[in-house]
């Protein structure tokens, strides 16, 4: 746990906290299904741009907090976040040098995996049915990823956090 105490952890923690807030910010009913999975996107961003040993554990913990925040089954988002972040960490050297559109496509594929795991757990625990509203967060990630990268890259450069 000593790695978590290094000074360069706080930007990661703060952005994850901001992403957690965005996950529950009220949206109009028509827009609510289109909420991008901010927390997973942020965790994937840090996994690609600033991979550290604590990345996976932190993603798991953030997922657990999201479970409590959303009132779901404990471990649901924790599992999905762990798997998505693991894939991102595993291939971060390749994904990092992709052009923007290609990187976006890869990240959306990751988010699709993440969303499938979330849906899977919902299906097992409360018998959820597959509908179009399950696909909309993945589509929203298409638009959200380039924006997130632009914002967090600036922040990272400003703070001098090199990969």
């Amino acid at each position: 746990m000593s790695a978590v105490a290094t000074p360069r952890t706080w930007p990661v923690l703060l952005t994850l906290l901001a992403a957690l807030s965005l996950e529950v910010t009220p949206l109009p009913a028509d827009l609510a299904p289109w909420r991008p999975p901010w927390l997973a996107l942020t965790a994937i961003y840090w996994a690609l741009a600033y991979p550290r040993r604590y990345g996976l554990a932190l993603a798991w913990l953030a997922g657990l907090v999201l479970d409590v925040l959303k009132g779901g089954v404990l471990g649901q988002h924790a599992l999905a976040m762990t798997v998505a972040t693991w894939i991102a960490l595993r291939f971060h050297l390749r994904l990092r040098v992709f052009p923007v559109w290609q990187q976006t496509a890869a990240v959306v594929a990751l988010i699709a995996t993440h969303q499938f795991l979330v849906f899977w757990v919902d299906g097992v625990t409360v018998g959820a049915e597959l509908g179009w509203d399950r696909a909309t967060p993945t589509l929203a990630a298409f638009i959200a990823w380039p924006i997130l990268v632009a914002v967090l890259d600036r922040l990272r450069m400003h703070l001098g956090m090199r990969a």
Binding site: R52, L56, V68, G75, V83, W86
Partner: protein, 309 residues
């Protein structure tokens, strides 16, 4: 080598378990958590501890919409406030008139129940709670409230608004609580027809404007526009509060049950304030102090919630 890369660099050779091992460990831990949480519900202490930690996030997220409300109150024009005040006074007067009648009716009801030797109905006490403007799981109908354990909220407590039953509490934290709405697909409300006392169950379907009554035979005496009130069976909700109004009755000769749908009377997706009900706080009031006792439950704040039996 720059100082940044000095502090920031990764070890050339990683020690400890590999990435894959750590992923598998964490995934197994998540699955165990899910099993224990969903099957046995053993993790309430973990959830409680974490929920205290996430409560600030909920409050911060709720701040913008709450502050919009305050600013609107603060900036609204004087004559509009006066008009609103006048309207509220008139409304209050009307309701007091109704309440006077209510006192007489309650007294009459108590006398009649006495004649029939049936136990007296208990009066309910209520307290106002606010729904936090926080979107919980989009695939379930849940809301977060700003009253929790310190206010005496308990699991299973009924939630009302001005027009009917909203839902019930499913989880209580030290500072807040979570409630399930009657429109959630996993929620069933025991109801009866106000007109003839026919009892059935209203199921949520995941739509705030629609509920289903799947267990009514084709021959059931039910019509469009009938009011469904809570029956009080199942000990979940206090009896006699409106739940929904029948919007569709389709009798299907080939099927054992009719297709009946109803629309919840409460504004499930529009209310910001809800009432928490403590059932059976005290016995039904005697005829003399009826008016006072009837008015008392509506006071806000002054109510010290009692322990539930």
């Amino acid at each position: 080598m720059s100082p940044i890369s000095q502090t920031d660099n990764k070890p050339l050779f990683e020690r400890g378990p590999s990435l894959g091992t750590r992923m598998v460990l964490l995934a197994v831990l998540s699955v165990l958590l899910m099993l224990f949480d969903h099957q046995q519900g053993h993790l309430e202490t973990v959830r409680r501890a974490l929920s205290v930690a996430v409560y600030p996030i909920r409050v911060i997220v709720d701040l913008p919409s709450a502050s919009i409300g305050w600013t609107r109150e603060y900036l609204s024009e004087r004559n509009r406030m006066v008009a609103e005040n006048r309207e509220l006074r008139q409304e209050s007067l009307r309701q007091r008139a109704v309440l006077q009648q209510m006192a007489a009716l309650q007294a009459e009801n108590a006398r009649l129940r006495g004649l029939m030797d049936s136990p007296a109905r208990l009066a309910n006490r209520v307290q106002v709670a606010e729904i936090l403007a926080v979107d919980l799981d989009p695939y379930r109908h849940r809301v977060a409230l700003n009253r929790g354990e310190q206010a005496g909220v308990y699991t299973g407590q009924a939630l009302l608004d001005a027009d009917g039953i909203v839902g019930q509490i499913i989880r209580v934290n030290p500072l807040g609580a979570e409630a399930i709405l009657i429109s959630d697909p996993s929620h069933a409300t025991p109801v009866e027809l106000n007109r003839n006392g026919l009892r059935t169950v209203a199921l949520g379907v995941g739509d705030v404007t629609r509920m289903e009554l799947p267990f009514l035979p084709n021959s059931a005496d039910i019509r469009i526009g009938d009011l469904l009130v809570s029956s009080g069976l199942g000990d979940a909700f206090p009896a006699g509060y409106p739940v929904a109004r029948v919007t569709r009755v389709e009798r299907r000769p080939g099927e054992p049950f009719a297709r009946v749908e109803a629309a919840p009377t409460a504004a499930l997706n529009r209310t910001r304030q809800v009432l928490l009900v403590w059932e059976g706080g005290e016995a039904a009031p005697a005829p003399e102090d009826g008016a006072e006792a009837a008015a008392e439950p509506l006071q806000e704040g002054a109510l010290a919630p009692e322990e539930t039996p």
